[in-house]
Amino acid sequence: MRAVSSGPLAGARPSSRHVRRIATAVTAVVGVAALSACGANEQTPSGASQSDAAPGGTLNILTDSASNPFDPAKSSGLAITSLALVHRRLTSWHIAEGQAAKVVPDLATDTGKATDDGKTWTFTLKDGLKYSDGTPIVTADIKWGVERSYAAAFSSGLSYHKPLLVGGADYKGPFDGKELDSIETPDTKTIVFHLVRSYGDWTWLASTPAFAPVPKGKGAEPTYGEHPVASGPYQVAEYQKGVKVRLTRNPNWDKKTDEVRKGLPDEVDFQLSQDTTTVSQRLVADSGADQSAFGASFVSPAQLAQLQSDSSAKQRLVTSKSGALAYLALNTKKGPLANVKVRQAFQYAVDKSAFQVASAGSAQLAGEVATTLITPGITGREQYDQYQTKPTGDPDKAKQLLADAGFPNGIDNLDFVVGKTNSGPDKAQALQASLAKAGIKVNIRTLDSDTYDSEVTGNDAKYDLVLGSWQPDFPSANGNIQPLFGTTEIGNGGYNISRYSNPDVDSLIEKAESTVDPTEAGKIWAQADKKIMQDSPVVPLIYTRNSFLHGSKVTGFSIADFPSYPNYLVLGVNK
């Protein structure tokens, strides 16, 4: 979804929220048994993709999205995908296979100093940092960048920081001359954030796109993302919406100050608006410039089935071990779905195994059946299943629950919104068929990813059901729970697409967020997870594996344990 979707996105479309990625599907290629045999992930350094290429060459990124603006305020990109090629942030991520993701300094000299019990955070910039235009990067620009993310016109990016900064709730952005006083810049190197409450994950939030510098006073125009001032190894040389984006080297980026970006290729070209099936076929064929290309979207199930008999392409297929939670969101504010008994019926009606097959051809390829909201590998996650049933679902039990709720004849005409990308419609049909067995008739409405986003995150929710997918924006259970179930995330671009609001859950979220010890916080998150599932605002489907294809000359292509996307920052191109 894209959807939906932006999954594909993550990389290529920093502006889309992860939900969309989800919506669409994700496919995994390799089963547990097959992992060791063919998962490129698991390859030892013998593969060409493991040793770094010499600097130089052009890396091509093939994406189905029509635009890929590099506007930090509007972006929900991960710290390791396309936006990070152009923009540095205060902190970044160190990710590697088999290791938990670690927060590391980027523009800052360290990952931030917390004082006042986690309510005040101080960062200091490294020496000698410059923009692509040669001017020095100062903390006032970081402040401006964060302030800019509050302006209504630029508010579509990750927004975890917005309610946390003192005064943030009422702040409308810097373009009418008002500053956000809770961000102090005592000198050009130091920046201090004052938060409304203790917040242990602030060091992770400093790696989100809004903490990239925007030269003070710039970025008032909506097209800033097409010609931004760069701090990373690349700058935008050419931007043609729907066609291509060309990134060339930023001569003022100093590799010595940057521990996360390798900056190997001389040029990075995004080919926009590509058909995902065609992209897979081109990458399988592996000829010409496509040898130094990779697909930002997931490999489709049909392509996966085909790849099983193509040993060369199979070598170049990389699959994550886990990934986004795919889920069916139930609009808790609408019609019969406002009744918790009806929503619980959905837990039994859904055939998760059919969903797995529709996603990627088999349970092993698609990812495990999900029963919790917190995804595997996140601190504090507890495995539980409040609605135990067969993986194929239990239509009779669902009918019984519906009858108890006053719908003995089932429910008709539910509006089911799904994103077009990543075989979203096929997955939606699998759900439609299983719901029909329980007497729930749904009409699928397929939307392209931009429309999908505005439909599901808008204020006026007309839909009943949405196929969603969510991967945390940073590796904390916070990122699993708060964006999807916090009352503040309903509408206005928020991803609480089931429009779920429960004061008990809100207070648990707040309690967990202000708990600085990660283990203690994890316990509270697990409690919130179970509490939410009692109200059944969503049906967890699977923990989706993602598969990507790359050309034979691309080096460094791998997926760490988190996130389930390749690290764009370390890719190189062999001659």
């Binding site: 489709s300 392509q303 055939d351 059919a354 051809g361 049909q429 068929a433």
Partner: protein
Amino acid sequence: MSPARSVPSAILRMLRTDRWALGGVVAIVLLGVVAAAANLLTAIEGQDPFTYHNEALDHATGRPAGTLGGVSGAHWFGVEPLTGRDVFAIVAFGARTSFLIGLAATLVSVVLGVLLGASAGYLGGWYDRAVVWTADVFLGFPYLVFMIALGAVVPASVPRPLLLVVVIGFFGWPSIARIVRSQTLTLKKRNFVSAARALGAGPWHVFRVELLPNLWAPIIIVATLSIPGKIGLEAALSFLGVGMPPPTPSWGRSISGAIDWVRTDPMLLIFPGLALFLATWGFNVFGDGLRDALDPRTEVRR
């Protein structure tokens, strides 16, 4: 009135002499029976087009288990990859979708086209010019783009089959109207029409009693020849994702889905593709044969 030239007898004679037209009729009848008896046939097979059969799939890849896309006694045309839905049931119920939409849309076109064409030809004057001009505009109209746009904006509460019938049917009237109008122009100068008018018959009476019987032959020919286009149009719209919504089977949507699988599971494309080919080919050669048998230039009933 020569009995040998009546429409049914001309058809019979054509079938005896024109093997291509006979083949077309066989194809149409075959698919028509499948469409009409889809429930019965799939009941005999023991399948339906909606049920997922994961057990019929290869557990490693989601492809149909077995050869030729999983063709077997239980699944006559095999199963869909990733879902295990029965392809025969999808093709059979898809025939029902195609025939119903194709024929109903043709009916809409014929009714509109005959009424507008005959009235324009008979009444003449500014009304005639307006109809001709409108028909020309619609003939040159980029209707596919229009239908795609319409499919995207019309709310889901409007039944999709009705929308398809109305839209596809509406864009078919100009070609029929033009032919009917030109026939009417020649007919209204004929003595029997003049006689009826002289006796005080009104336009509706003249249309019903004098014109219509002589218009049937061209109407049947042009209608038959336009059916394959309409079936193809429904398939095209479904192929593009703005036609019949899932899960209602539709050949166009099946073909669209099969394209991704053509290398690993070509049968998935072949069965609905063949059915679509047969239907359009059948109506085309049948219409051609009809035209030869009922050449309207030599035919006047009185």
